[in-house]
Amino acid sequence: MTALLEVKNLVKHFEVSRGLVRAVDGVSFSLEKGETLGLVGESGCGKTTTGRCILQLERATSGSILFEGRELTTLDQSELRAVRRKMQVIFQDPYSSLNPRMTVGQIIAEPLAVHGIVRGSAARAARVKDLLSRVGLLPAHARRYPHEMSGGQRQRVGIARALAMEPSLIICDEPVSALDVSIQAQIINLLEDLQSEFGLTYLFIAHDLAVVRHISDRVAVMYLGKIAEMADRKTIYDNPRHPYTKALLSAVPIPDPELEMKRERIVLGGEVPSPLNPPSGCVFHPRCPIAVERCTHEIPVLRDLTPGHGAACHLAEIA
C-alpha cells in the first residue's frame, strides 16, 4: 500500500496585529488508501486548519502535502482544479455549508456539470437522483431548498455533493458535531457504508472521542498545533502514552454506574495557552501532571515507541 496522502512538517501561521498565531506547527502524518484517520483535539488546536491546508483553502506557511504522489503546495490554480476533484470536504455546520439560493438538485449537479463528470442535463438529473438515494434521501428532495430540510437531511446533501465528484479522499470536518445525537449515529453509519462501497479514505476531524473511536482506524491527538500522540485505535484507547491523551480519555464517561464510580479521572488545570504565545519546550508542560524540568526547555519530537505508535513526550516510556 502506498500513502494516498502524506503531510510532512505542515506549518500554518496567521499574521495578526499582535503577532503570529501558530495554528499548525509542524504536523506530519500519512493516510493509506481506504483507511480513516481520526484527528482529535480541543477547539483551537489546529485540527480544522490542518484540514483546510490539505484542501488548499489555506496556503500552508511551509511543509509539504503529497496527495496521490503530487505536491499540492506548489500547484497553481488550474492544476489545483484537477486535483480538487479527488479531494472533497464535508463541513460541520449543515446550515451554512449549502448555498441557500440553490436547490438541492442544483447543488449536487453543479460539480457534475463544471467538471464534465456527467454530460447532458437529463443524465445529470438521473445521477443526482442516484446520489440522493445513496445518501438516504428521496429523488423529490432535489427540488427542495436547503432551508426546507432538517439538519440531518442537509448533512446528507453535503455528503452527496462531496460524493458527486467521485473523490478518493474526503476530509470530514466535524461532520456530526452540529447534529442531534440520534442523527449522529445515522450519519456515521452512512459514512461507513459509503467508505466500504466506494473505497473512500477519510480524514475525520472531531472533538468527540466516542465518535472517533467508532469510525477511525488510527487516531492522532492534537494539542496547540502539534500532534501529541498517534497510534492505531486500539493502542491509543487501551494504552495511551502521552499525558494529554490520558487526560482526554479519562474524561470519557463510562455508561455503567459502578465502573463510572471507580473511574480514575485526570483533571487538567488551567486553560489551553494562546497559540499567539505558546509555552517554551513542550507546549503541554504548564498543564502536564508529570512534567519535569527538561520539559520546560526541550521540545519533544513525535517518536515511535512501538512501530506505528508515536508520542511527543520525553516521559512517554515511564509515565
Binding site: R81, F91, N99, V114, L138, E148, M165, I183
Partner: protein, 297 residues
C-alpha cells in the same frame, strides 16, 4: 435506510406561495411602503400608456392657448408654447422611469459585482478596488454626474451614463460589506474546494446572497436617479428640448412666468416630488421588511 428523520417532511412552500405571503405581509405591516409601491406602479403604468391616456400630443404647440390657466380643456394649463402641461407630465414620466430604472439597475448591478469581487479576492485586489471607489465617493453625486456630462455631452444616453457612474461605488461599498460575511460561509469554501472558477463563485454562489441589500440599493437609487435626472435637465445638462422631461419643464419660460403662470412649474415639481417620495417610501419599507433583525417570524 428508512428512518423517521430522513423522510420527515417539511411542508413544501413553493416560490410563488412564499412570494404571495411576502407581498401580503408587506402591505399589512407597512402601509406607507405599500402606498409608495402603489404610486411607483401608477408611475410605471402612466409611462407605459402615456400615448394612450394623454389628451394631447406632447410636442404640439397651440399659439392660440399660450400660458393658458388650468381649465376643462387643459386640466393643468399650458406652457409658453401652448403645449398641454398634463400631457407633458405624463410623457415626462416615461423619461423619468427610463432614466431611473436603467441607472439604478446598471449602477446597483455593476456596483454589486465589483463589491463582491473585491470581498472575494480580498488582500491587495480589495485594497486597490476600494481606493479607486473611495476616489469616486469623495465627490458628491451631482458633481460627479456634472463631470461625466461635461465629458460626454448632453442627451438621454449620456445622462444615463452620468447618473450611473457615481452610483457604482456606492453600491460596491454596500455589496462588499455584505459579501465579506458571505466570503466566510462554508458553502463558499465548498465551492472553492470543488474547484470552481472565481467567476462562477462570485456570480453564482456569492452575488445571489447579497440580494437583500441589492434590492434596497436598487429602490434607493431609483428615487435618486429621478431626482438627478431632473436636476441635470433643469441645469440644461440633461435631456434637451423638445423631449418632455420634468426637470426640463421647470426651466426657461417656467421661471420667467413663475408669477403669471405658476402651473407651469408647480405641477412638474409635484410630479418629481411625488415620484421620488414614493420610491423612497417603498425603498425604506423594503429595507425594513428584508432586514432579518426586524423580521418577526
Amino acid at each position: 435506510m428508512a428512518t423517521v428523520e430522513t423522510f420527515a417532511d417539511v411542508p413544501e412552500a413553493s416560490a410563488a406561495a412564499r412570494w404571495r405571503t411576502f407581498v401580503v405581509d408587506f402591505c399589512r405591516q407597512r402601509p406607507l411602503g405599500a402606498i409608495g409601491a402603489a404610486v411607483v406602479l401608477l408611475n410605471l403604468v402612466v409611462a407605459a400608456l402615456a400615448n394612450v391616456i394623454s389628451p394631447y400630443d406632447p410636442l404640439a404647440t397651440d399659439y392660440g392657448a399660450m400660458l393658458a390657466a388650468p381649465s376643462r380643456a387643459h386640466w393643468l394649463g399650458t406652457d409658453a408654447f401652448g403645449r398641454d402641461v398634463l400631457t407633458r407630465i405624463l410623457y415626462g414620466s416615461r423619461t423619468a422611469m427610463l432614466v431611473g430604472f436603467s441607472c439604478a439597475f446598471i449602477g446597483a448591478t455593476l456596483g454589486a459585482v465589483i463589491g463582491v469581487t473585491s470581498a472575494y479576492f480580498g488582500g491587495k485586489v480589495d485594497l486597490l478596488i476600494q481606493r479607486v471607489m473611495d476616489i469616486f465617493l469623495s465627490f458628491p453625486l451631482i458633481i460627479l454626474a456634472l463631470a461625466v456630462v461635461a465629458m460626454l455631452g448632453t442627451g438621454l444616453e449620456n445622462v444615463i451614463a452620468a447618473i450611473t457612474v457615481p452610483m457604482i461605488p456606492r453600491a460596491a461599498l454596500v455589496a462588499r460589506s455584505s459579501a465579506l460575511a458571505i466570503r466566510e460561509m462554508p458553502y463558499v469554501d465548498a465551492a472553492r474546494a470543488a474547484g470552481f472558477r472565481h467567476g462562477r463563485i462570485i456570480l453564482r454562489h456569492m452575488s445571489p446572497n447579497v440580494m437583500a441589500p441589492y434590492l434596497i440599493m436598487l429602490t434607493a437609487f431609483l428615487g435618486q436617479a429621478i431626482l438627478l435626472e431632473a436636476s441635470l435637465s433643469f441645469l440644461g445638462l440633461g435631456v434637451s428640448e423638445p423631449t418632455p422631461a420634468w426637470g426640463l419643464m421647470l426651466r426657461g419660460a417656467a421661471v420667467q412666468f413663475a408669477e403669471s403662470a405658476p402651473w407651469m412649474a408647480i405641477f412638474p415639481g409635484l410630479a418629481i416630488s411625488l415620484a421620488v417620495f414614493a420610491f423612497n417610501l417603498f425603498g425604506d419599507s423594503l429595507r425594513d421588511a428584508l432586514d432579518p433583525r426586524l423580521r418577526t417570524q
